[in-house]
């Protein structure tokens, strides 16, 4: 390929990327707009809360538990080099609440929820169910997208908070059972160092990640190509895009909250 050809290819890729960002932004604004005009579909919102929040608890809980445990082992091993093993409780707590709780929780929800939303809505699109909704005077953005996005934005912060607690418990169990910490001292250390801001910042991250996850699932589902292949591609794009966006948003939010 010659130089001009390469430049043209680069240009096309950048343009396509910018166009996609534009479309996703419009989709997001369009979704939020429906928050302010009736009708509202309460039953759909409730179903989405159960699906996204409640049913994600096991996955998020297990992830947090093992992460908390591993974190305690690593910090203990690392801290031992400076005779600083006592920092285990506080670093586990801060690490879980600020970073690992929201990021790993968000990624697990991205895998579980954004794929299922994209597959469901994509199948509805491919089988003309979205068209049928429109002809039945029901706006698919109101009926399908808004309840899912709203539910994820509300539920993921709570998932993150629960995940934080379970992760800290994982660290506690490893700390007291394997590393010989005194149970009462471990808990006191955790409580003393953890501030409310650590927890709320993680929950704000969770809300943003939840929004991203459901939005990407709906966006790629609604724009699914035709046939089974189209739905497959939509599902993959939803998971990949929401995962990358979560990590990027996490960096930006961390800068905003913690860079002095």
């Amino acid at each position: 390929m010659n130089f001009i050809g390469m430049l043209a290819h680069l240009g096309r890729t950048v343009m396509a990327l910018l166009a996609a960002i534009g479309r996703i932004t419009l989709f997001a604004l369009n979704t939020v707009k429906h928050l302010f005009s009736p009708p509202f579909y309460g039953k759909e919102l409730f179903a989405a809360l159960v699906q996204i929040g409640w049913l994600s608890l096991p996955v998020v809980g297990l992830t947090a538990f093992f992460t908390g445990g591993a974190l305690a082992l690593q910090i203990y091993a690392g801290g031992a080099r400076f005779n600083a093993e006592s920092v285990v409780p506080s670093i586990v707590a801060i690490g879980m609440a600020r970073e690992l709780g929201p990021v790993l929780g968000g990624l697990m929800v991205a895998a579980r929820v954004s794929s299922s939303i994209a597959a469901e809505i994509g199948t509805m699109k491919v089988t003309e169910q979205i068209d049928a909704l429109v002809t039945l005077s029901t706006n698919p953005m109101k009926y399908l997208t808004l309840p899912r996005v709203l539910a994820a934005t509300l539920a993921v912060p709570i998932l993150v908070a629960v995940g934080d607690a379970i992760g800290i418990m994982g660290g506690y169990i490893v700390g007291t059972e394997r590393l010989g910490f005194n149970a009462a001292a471990y808990l006191k250390n955790t409580v003393d160092f953890l501030t409310l801001a650590d927890i709320t910042s993680g929950m704000v991250k969770g809300a943003v990640f939840g929004f991203i996850v459901a939005l990407m699932g709906c966006y790629f589902g609604m724009n699914s190509g035709r046939g089974a292949q189209g739905v497959g591609r939509a599902t993959k794009s939803a998971v990949v895009t929401s995962s990358v966006m979560i990590l990027a948003a996490n960096y930006i939010l961390t800068e905003a909250f913690f860079s002095a």
Partner: protein
């Protein structure tokens, strides 16, 4: 009442509609025939505003469908999709009563359910079907549930996309009679896509044949057999030889 004028639509390199002109009078039953893949479904979706034509004007009662107020406009229509397009997360009766449970036509749940069961009966389905999920039904039953949903709110204008495809001859007869009845009794305007010549004769007032992106022939069903149009003749008699190529 419905009029399409010079409607063009392409999907990427595929030119589907290339200047469709067609008008349907109030209270008439128009049947659209044509080979598969000629754009019959696309045509209906353009009228409903589900697909935006590249060019051309579509009006219903003189009003441009692009600028019509969507909610009020769509409330006048019922549509049976080619694949049924039932919502698989909802039981059959809630599919049928979908429009009756939300928005401007909302009514109490029991009433909506009663109407749904009555409409199911009209398409030849027993009340037991009401609480099943679409995935538990055969293709032909799904089609009939789709039909029941299309007529649930007694619309003025009804579109049927291949209503009898996949049904046995007896059920096809039931559905043909039903469509005829809806047009005659309710005074609805109907547009039906079908490949089934028995259906055509049973339900059509007028027919239009879509070929190569344009309306190849249109006229009253009584003139169909003496049209002298080689395309229409070939289609009616299902001959492999003729101006329409068998490989498309």
């Amino acid at each position: 009442m419905i009029s399409l004028s010079k409607v063009f639509k392409s999907f990427g390199p595929i030119d589907v509609l290339q200047g469709v002109d067609l008008s349907i009078e109030r209270g008439k039953s128009m049947v659209i025939i044509g080979g598969s893949g000629t754009g019959k479904s696309v045509c209906l979706k353009c009228v409903l505003g589900l697909i935006k034509p590249d060019q051309g004007l579509i009006t219903v009662d003189g009003q441009d469908v692009q600028t019509a107020e969507r909610e009020a406009f769509l409330a006048r229509f019922g549509m049976l999709f080619q694949g049924g397009a039932l919502f698989d997360s909802l039981p059959v009766w809630q599919n049928v009563a979908f429009r009756l449970m939300r928005g401007s036509l909302k009514r109490p749940k029991e009433e909506a359910r009663d109407i749904a069961i009555e409409k199911l009966r009209r398409v030849g389905l027993k009340p037991e079907v009401a609480d099943k999920f679409p995935a538990e039904l055969s293709g032909g039953m799904q089609k009939r549930v789709g039909l029941a949903r299309a007529i649930a709110a007694d619309p003025e204008i009804i579109f049927f996309d291949e209503p009898t495809t996949g049904l046995d001859p007896i059920m096809s007869g039931v559905i043909n009679d039903l469509i005829r009845e809806i047009v005659v009794e309710m005074g609805a305007t109907a547009m039906t896509i079908t490949h089934d010549m028995t259906s055509v004769r049973a339900i059509a007032d007028d027919i239009a044949m879509l070929h190569n992106g344009v309306i190849q022939w249109t006229g009253p069903v009584a003139d169909m057999d003496q049209s002298g149009d080689p395309y229409l003749d070939q289609f009616i008699h299902g001959r492999a030889e003729g101006p329409i190529e068998a490989v498309r």
